[in-house]
Symmetry: C2
Subunit: 109 residues, 2 copies
């Protein structure tokens, strides 16, 4: 027990859950917002912007990267992160579809 039963769900459901989970943390939301806002991808600035330790920020960046939502490239001594456009738009579509499938006929409850 204690582990999610991914085998009884579809690949689509598992992937969507995995990517949503990557976003579902205030620090990672703040990181994404900062990356989007600054466009010219930030790196260690995130440590100053948010009030978290460097190791913690690095860990959050790793999760966003593992989910495929951001990408990083070496920029001199520091590392530059930015949105991974394809995954970002795919996720946007998946979420849109999910929300759009709900028709507010409200004939229940």
């Amino acid at each position: 027990m204690g582990v999610t039963k991914t085998d009884i769900f579809t690949n689509q459901q598992n992937k969507l859950a995995m990517q949503l989970k990557a976003i579902a943390h205030p620090a990672r939301i703040a990181i994404l917002q900062q990356i989007i806002k600054a466009n010219a991808c930030i790196c260690g600035d995130l440590v100053d912007e948010l009030g978290l330790a460097q190791a913690t920020i690095s860990q959050h960046l790793k999760e966003l990267k593992n989910a495929g939502l951001i990408q990083g490239s070496i920029e001199g001594v520091s590392i530059c992160y930015c949105i991974e456009p394809v995954a970002w738009k795919n996720l946007q579509n998946e979420i849109n579809n999910m929300f759009a499938s709900y028709k507010d006929v409200n004939t229940c409850c």
Copy 2:
């Protein structure tokens, strides 16, 4: 340690993270999809539809309810769940804003 530092983030960031976390599980995605599909809110049918124990489904429903995304009403001996329209649309907007704020200028990384 081990607890999310909500105090250093905005209410908006915390709320969005909280609601996204509620959705960020394949079982809860499947539950939401089923509720939307059936419209006429299901209840114990979810236990049959998904391959999870009744206690587990009930726990997932509770989390969706705590996040304000669904509502339940007593329907005879069983309980009928459906989408909470207001929260659902608010969340849809919040997510849309987040994704829409990204302009694919790709001048980095």
